[in-house]
């Protein structure tokens, strides 16, 4: 016969799966009981003799376990069987005594029973006598239908069943009891007033007792204290209101100066208080007193405290001695991520606000290098470049408006209106507009010269004009003339 498994690997024990019956191939065969016994014997012997191999699941362990189990069962069964047999015998004897004359089927049946039992017993004995080792199962022998009895399920099994039933009943009884208890508890709780929505505080509620009349004297005394406290509080409120009203009246009755005097005094007192407060030390941490717990603070007498300049125990007295990284307001942020290097405003300031002590001299250019001269310096050596020379000789009539003031109006006007000159003078326009106004304004404006530049007063406007290469239109009649001429001749 080919081997069951197609491999040559050694047979490994089946894995234990909970709930599944352990398949024991060598020992579960009912046919070859004798062979089985022999095998068992064989297996037993080597298991006892050979040392256990160091595997996680020793091969022989299952076999040992199985065998042990078998042994137990058989023994138990035999013992039970013996007991049952004894019991039955006793019963039979009793019945025989009781029903002496009853030779009915029952007795026959009993006899048969007995005989069958004897048979089975004898079989067992036979089998047991045959094999010295204990057996697990009886060899099933065929019994004819007439001779079969339901009691043939076996006294041992019957006993077992009964036992199991008894246990079950016990368990059921226990469960019932538990349920009963639970129901009773619920009913009691409901009766006692614990509601369904109240899922908490069972004991706490009763701990805080609110029964009245426990100690009437004390309760009355306590109430008295409270009532007096209330009266006192009311009176204090009334007094305060009174005082305020008095104060208002008083101030109304004072004269104005007295009121002002009082106000000044009050303000000075406030200022003194402010100065009297300490200054914040360098990089002191600022604690805002907060808006919410003022009442509590007042109760503890802490509403007027001032921490400016006060020394805190953990604080460093002189922060400058610390390395720069540690010179921070709040030491709790030392080493934490995201701390910027911001120290204080002054050190972060990049401008130079209000620091202009050295504005008088601006360093000046060393040499006369044009490129590095400022405009002001350059002005000194102006005109340069393309405007180095004047295009035309110009009579400087700008001096005249400067010199002439209100008195010389007529002269200047006449001078202006003379042609053949560059009459493009701002003052020229004045003659067309309102003379007095514009003349005054213009001249005054120019004479006053609102510019603050400290450069030597040159007539800038004039020099600007002078710098032009060509003079502006009205004087250039010749030019325009030429133009026209050119057009005509074509």
């Amino acid at each position: 016969m080919p081997p069951k498994r197609m491999t040559a690997n050694p047979v490994r024990p089946a894995r234990y799966r909970p709930g599944k019956a352990v398949a024991e191939e060598p020992s579960s065969s009912e046919e070859e009981s004798g062979v089985e016994e022999e095998q068992e014997e064989e297996s037993e012997k080597p298991t006892i003799q050979a040392p256990p191999k160091a595997t996680s699941f020793p091969k022989e362990a299952t076999k040992i376990a199985n065998n042990l189990k078998n042994v137990d069962l058989n023994e138990r069964r035999r013992v039970a069987a013996a007991q049952e047999a004894a019991r039955l015998e006793a019963e039979k004897a009793e019945r025989a005594k009781q029903e002496e004359g009853f030779v009915t089927e029952e007795s026959e049946e009993e006899e048969e029973e007995g005989s069958e039992e004897e048979e089975s017993e004898s079989e067992e004995e036979e089998s047991s006598s045959e094999d010295e080792a204990p057996r697990k199962l009886l060899r099933p022998t065929f019994i004819k239908k007439d001779q079969r009895k339901p009691a043939n399920s076996g006294p041992d099994l019957k006993a077992e069943d009964e036992k199991w039933q008894e246990e079950e009943e016990k368990r059921k009884a226990k469960a019932d009891e538990l349920v009963q208890e639970q129901l009773e508890k619920n009913a009691a709780a409901r009766a006692a007033g614990k509601k369904n929505w109240d899922d908490d505080e069972d004991g706490e509620l009763e701990q805080v007792d609110d029964t009245d009349g426990v100690d009437p004297e004390m309760e009355y005394a306590q109430w008295k204290i409270r009532e007096l406290e209330r009266v006192r509080r009311d009176r204090a409120a009334i007094e305060e209101a009174e005082k305020e009203r008095e104060e208002i009246e008083r101030r109304r009755n004072l004269s104005k100066e007295e009121r002002e005097a009082e106000d000044r005094q009050f303000i000075e007192a406030q200022k003194a208080e402010k100065e009297g407060k300490g200054q914040m030390s360098y990089m002191q941490k600022y604690f805002h007193k907060g808006a919410f717990f003022m009442d509590e603070a007042k109760d503890q007498g802490l509403d007027r405290r001032d921490i400016m300049g006060s020394r805190i125990q953990d604080d460093v007295s002189n922060r400058d001695l610390l390395p720069e990284y540690m010179q921070i307001r709040d030491m709790a942020r030392l080493g934490k991520k995201g701390r910027t290097k911001y120290k204080d405003m002054k050190s972060e300031d990049t401008g130079r606000f209000g620091d202009y002590g050295d504005r008088a001299r601006r360093g000046g250019s060393g040499g006369r290098d044009e490129r590095f001269m400022s405009d002001r310096e350059r002005e000194r050596f102006a005109p340069t470049g393309a405007n180095a020379s004047e295009v035309k000789e110009r009579r400087r009539e700008e001096d005249t408006p400067e010199r002439s003031r209100f008195g010389r109006e007529g002269e200047s006007r006449r001078e202006y209106s003379r042609g053949g000159r560059d009459t493009y003078v701002p003052g020229h326009r004045d003659s067309r507009y309102d003379e007095s106004e514009s003349r005054y304004s213009r001249r005054d404006r120019r004479s006053r010269s609102y510019s603050r530049s400290q450069s030597p007063r040159r007539d800038r406007y004039g020099s600007e004009r002078d710098r032009r290469k060509r003079s502006v239109s009205p004087a250039n009649e010749s030019y325009s003339h030429e133009k026209r001429r050119r057009v005509d001749t074509r």
């Binding site: 509601k195 509620l205 805080v208 009245d212 409270r226 209101a241």
Partner: protein
């Protein structure tokens, strides 16, 4: 009562409440909105406060064990749920006063009525109704987040009359008693211990007769003041 339904849907309808108003507003708004939500979410409200009327409310109130606002994880107390139910029902004045002065001795029902009065009545009526209770010193169990504590009825009433926030909600702003006295709407409060207070004052005065008392004028004023109106109006002051 014609539009009264078993549940509070009409009361909580933001779009349009058409029932009787209190001070021109939906009575539910006397309790803060978040607290309203807490109340309507509790099991107590859903199970027990459905289809209550004034009579069955008494049964519920009898089962009450403590007063308080919210406790635990924002759980509204049954006290608050019943207050809210009262706001929905808006029982009549006599009924509320009956709750307040119930003879069966249900102090939590009294406390409930006091809270309702504080929220809904007019100022003068509030003072008139609640001040007699200042001499009632029955114990009340008050529940806060951290557990229970014992307070007394007069303390509770006093808090109702003076504090801004009670039981987890902001109370409607009550004018001060002094203001009402100045307006001649209320008389001065005479404490039940008035005689004893007078006796104490007399003793104090005797003790200080020898020294020059800074507050002499005040004492004199206080002494004769019990039961007599004090000169507090501006017209009496010399101008």
């Amino acid at each position: 009562m014609s539009g009264h339904k078993a549940d509070a849907k009409a009361l909580l309808d933001d779009r349009g409440y058409s029932g009787p108003l209190i001070r021109g507003e939906n009575p539910a708004n006397l309790i803060e909105k978040p607290l309203q939500d807490r109340i309507t979410e509790t099991y107590y409200w859903k199970e027990q406060c459905f289809a209550l009327n004034e009579a069955s409310l008494c049964d519920r109130a009898v089962d009450m064990n403590f007063i308080g606002g919210t406790y635990g994880q924002q759980k509204a107390s049954p006290f608050l749920c019943l207050v809210f139910k009262l706001l929905q029902l808006q029982p009549e004045r006599e009924i509320v006063l009956y709750y307040l002065h119930n003879e069966e001795g249900f102090k939590y029902l009294t406390a409930l009525a006091a809270f309702y009065i504080r929220l809904t009545f007019e100022p003068v009526e509030i003072y008139k109704a609640l001040e007699p209770l200042l001499s009632d010193y029955r114990k009340l169990r008050r529940r806060r987040n951290d557990g229970f504590m014992i307070t007394h009825m007069d303390q509770f009433i006093d808090d109702l009359l003076t504090k801004d926030r009670m039981c987890g909600t902001t109370l409607w702003k009550l004018p001060k008693r002094q203001l009402l006295e100045d307006l001649e709407l209320l008389d001065e409060r005479v404490s039940p211990l008035a005689d004893e207070i007078e006796a104490i004052d007399n003793e104090n005065d005797d003790a200080r007769e020898g020294d020059e008392s800074r507050e002499g004028s005040d004492y004199e004023r206080r002494n004769g003041a019990n039961g007599r109106s004090r000169s507090r109006s501006r017209s009496s002051e010399g101008r």
